[in-house]
Amino acid sequence: MLALLKRYRELILVAVLLLLPLAVFFAHAKRPAELSRVDRLLLVGTAPLEKVVAAVVTGTLEAWRGYVALRGSHQRASALSRENGMLRLEAQELQQERAENDRLRRLLSLAESEPRRAYMGARVIGVGLAPAGLQLLTIDKGADDGLVRAMPVVVADGVVGRIHATAGQSAEVLLAVDRNSSIAVRVERTRARANVRGLGRPDQCRLDYALRSEDVIEGDLLVTSGTDATFPPGLPVGRATRLQRAAHGLFLEGMVVPAVDPTRLEEVLIITSGARDPSLLPAAAGPGPRP
């Protein structure tokens, strides 16, 4: 027996490495699991690494853009055009700063529009929109800044998602377009109730549980209803589109164009007031391993 084990030890080890994770997957697939200590250790370790890599990549890209602009000036071989190039570069930088100011002003006006809510600003430092995985953003604020799971994340245009996992100095945001995300909404025009569920695509969500008898038309703005214990009421989620009323059935079918394009986010606001005990919240992240 021992000789047999010894003879096939490589095969046995590879089989264990293959089958053990499969068993773990089927055991965890239907219920959300807490982060293990090893997971947390790795997340805490990768947050500073992500910030450093982000700084290096940003610096390199900016230096490259500057180099290209300067090279163009040299090719013109005249001091005037060189100066012109530099001025254009400055104008471009100013334009970018103005755009950033506009974005921040809009975020500020959103924060000021509801003074009872407490907000915290954060920058997006990483994006994970792998089609087979969760749709996640990484932000540069984390548990050290007081963020906890399930806090709503918004921008001036509407709902971005909610905090999914936190490390010391960073956090992951589960986007509203993720298929594990379901947000209770109302049609702003008629106050009809429905749910918006993500499809794992950044450009589209699905309209769930909208009664066939309700007055919903294409282009209707859907806002959070506040009944899901996560999002405060009145935040835009998206607009109804491709509505279909079947001849039978309780609900109408339709899609939702998200109010926020997750591929263009640079800064977000986290609503830190009214945070509830995460353990009391419904487990929306069904197959996700993290709370």
Binding site: F26, D39, L42, T58, G126, V127, G128, L129
Partner: protein
């Protein structure tokens, strides 16, 4: 030592991927930079070292993709074994072969993840096959990025002094 180094590199690649996605398209299209790492392990490492390394890379994928625990670990080892079998039968030479195999590996990981989640996840959270276009684009971009990742992997192997020459040109 080698599996640990590959897990460390996988973490670095996953971080780089998240940061690059933020700057290049904001995640509208994605690549799986860890798939070439699995293919490289399959073509150069030993059975045990490679399988342990692949499991480590899969664990990093589970952590960064947010998939249920064990899913990507299983798929990473499965892709490692498939690439190893293929590598034993077909002589994979040069960057083009490596890129094609990496693209196939990325596609295998994604399709496997979608298929298994469709079997095991709650009905309302199951991924749909409407994602096929994104999966194909991901595989294509992975193939394009694979030669660059190969350079980093070769450098790592040279540092560790453990490359088995002639397995991949």
């Amino acid at each position: 030592m080698k599996p640990l180094a590959h897990v460390a590199l996988a973490l670095l690649l996953a971080t780089l991927q998240a940061v690059l996605a933020r700057h290049l398209g904001g995640g509208a299209v994605t690549a799986c930079l860890l798939a070439p790492s699995l293919i490289h392990l399959a073509l150069t490492a030993g059975n045990v070292d490679g399988a342990v390394g692949a499991a480590g890379v899969g664990y990093v994928l589970d952590l960064t993709w947010g998939t249920p625990k064990g899913l990507m670990t299983f798929l990473a080892v499965a892709v490692f074994l498939a690439a190893r079998l293929l590598g034993a039968g077909v002589d994979v030479r040069g960057r083009l072969g490596f890129a094609l195999l990496s693209a196939a590996g990325a596609l295998g990981l994604s399709i496997g993840a979608v298929a298994l989640q469709r079997v095991a996840a709650l009905p309302e959270a199951q991924p749909g096959w409407g994602l096929w276009l994104r999966l194909l684009v991901e595989a294509l971009l992975t193939g394009l990025a694979a030669p660059l990742v190969l350079l980093a992997l070769r450098r790592l192997d040279a540092l560790l002094g453990a490359e088995e020459s002639d397995l991949i040109a």
